[in-house]
């Protein structure tokens, strides 16, 4: 589907109707709740959402502080490296958060022509393929982490492995969400419910 930066239904929903009608005393939650899921998956989802918020806010602050230094003719060398470090993490974790809300870019025009059991089968096949890719990413990601143990980031002096760890960690979390989604598909739960829309 052809939607620029904002794929399929997937911008984070605003509060929801329940939050709006809850009366003046009840404040709506700071982050939109994800779809219904067993407690451990819900906790993992919330933890990832907040990690994305924290990393994102820190990146904005860091780049801005560096601009201020820049105005006074100074440059803080480690901000660039730290920002790149956080960028990799925020991307793989953000990808996991997007998975939970069914927000990845995909072409659904042909899939949408199916309904009933064929659609369920197709959805299941797509998620099964995603699981294979994610499994490879976790496995080879861990290999990359192990192989880069000796390397150090030039300015920060941190092990490169910490940065590469984002790939297997983010992919593993995504794997959990996709596996849960696959289980839901096989049970016949409709998409609107699976992605908390």
């Amino acid at each position: 589907m052809n939607r620029g930066l904002e794929p399929e239904g997937e911008r984070v929903a605003h509060g929801g109707p329940a939050a709006g009608n809850a009366g003046p005393r009840m404040r709506r939650p700071l982050l939109p709740p994800g779809p219904a899921a067993p407690l451990p998956i819900g906790v993992l989802g919330a933890a990832i959402d907040w990690a994305v918020v924290a990393l994102g806010a820190a990146m904005v602050a860091l780049v801005f502080v560096n601009v201020v230094f820049h105005v006074f003719g100074r440059d803080v060398a480690w901000t660039t490296e730290l920002c790149e470090f956080m960028m990799v993490w925020v991307t793989f974790l953000g990808g996991a958060a997007a998975t939970r809300r069914g927000a990845h870019m995909r072409i659904t025009e042909f899939l949408d022509k199916l309904s009933g059991p064929p659609r369920r089968l197709a959805d299941a096949a797509v998620q099964a393929l995603a699981l294979v890719v994610l499994g490879l990413l976790v496995w080879f990601g861990l290999g990359i982490v192990a192989a880069s143990r000796g390397n150090i980031l030039t300015v920060l002096d941190w092990p490169m492995a910490w940065q590469y760890l984002s790939l297997p960690v983010g992919s593993a979390a995504t794997f959990v969400f996709v596996a849960w989604d696959l289980a839901q598909i096989l049970r016949g739960v409709p998409a609107a419910e699976r992605y908390g829309r």
Binding site: G56, V60, V63, N66, G95, H104
Partner: protein, 428 residues
Amino acid sequence: MFAVNVFVAFFVIALAGVPLVYALLVTTVGMIWAKGLSHPLETIFLAYIGGVEPFILIAVPLFVFAGELLSQGGVGRRIVELARVLFGFLPGGLGVVTVASCLMFGGVSGSAIADTAAIGSLIIPTMIERGYSRAFAAALLAVAGTLALLMPLSIPFLVYAFISGVSMRTLSMSGVIPAFISAAALVAVCVWYGRKTGCDSGSERASRAEIWRAFRAAGPALVMPVIIVGGIWSGYFTPTESAAVAVVYGLAVSLFLYGDITWRDVPRLVLSAFQTSAVVMLVLGATAAMAWLLTAEQVAMQLAEWVKVVAQQQWMFLLLVNLALLLLGIFIEPLPALLLTAPLFLPLAKVFNVDLVHLGVVMTANLAIALYTPPVGGTLFVAAKLANAGIGAITRALVPLMTATVLVLILITYVPALSTTLVRLILN
């Protein structure tokens, strides 16, 4: 014919509904297995990580965030009011107001969908009230929203700058004249439509006091692009730095001056912006993985040989670029389309002596059209929903508008000076 295998495999998998990031990775890994190639998968996945890391890309979530901050609040309303007092008196005035609002809002936010949604939700009801058909209102908003992509803060420009190595500073200057020409073409269609249907003969001219009041209200929002663009064009800020300044300025204006959002909205907006950009970044990283394989197998060189036989001259190459992108754009979103094709077009552009900045503008203008080419398209869907109009009716209403934009596309393609003049004026 390695290239053909890769592209066919990718398209079959992607059209089957597999998220693009996995479709790209599975095609890459699958090709290595199927062909028994000796590339270790670690290298492919390192290219995947490497694709999301570079500092310039940090500008992408920051631009999305800044745009979101402003589209949440009353900035759109104030911009529409300013456009109304300035242009509302013309025949087809409301259409002209729409185009001017989209152009101004596009200067603040680099996302076409945000532009169509923010301006459309304000102006479509008024257009329908004034007697415009729902289909024309939707069609106009779907087209005018994409003006954002040619304005300086365009996100496709950022991505193209990264892939091509052209500086964002130059690129952000080169889209301005094409954006204004496109806007002028759309204004002409609106005036023609207003005369033809007689549905909107224009309202009364606004008084000086009204204009001043509207200008003061919209001013703080319009200062933002001036700061950012000024920062980038003067070379004082990098795009990433200017994006951070934009976010902080946007926060200050929305929180303290306009009061459209509160602190409690901030975490939600941060999550939304970084999640949206993570989706883009992952596709970018996966494209980098595939590009690694294509480079290792020397596909770009083979393709260049082939294209050199088919397109013998520069104009034919440019025509080929346009046709390929318009076709691709029917189904694939602008950013992935850009990510997939730019690495192939760039070496060819050098062969055919096409200026890389010019190529970036041509590609972006094409992708803008893809956003509203029926039957599917991002701004098309948003506008159709806002106006409650059917895609079939919108398609008919799109004919005069698309004729105008395609003519402008041809103009942009074959008159490189439109893209390069402003750059030359500013940099000299």
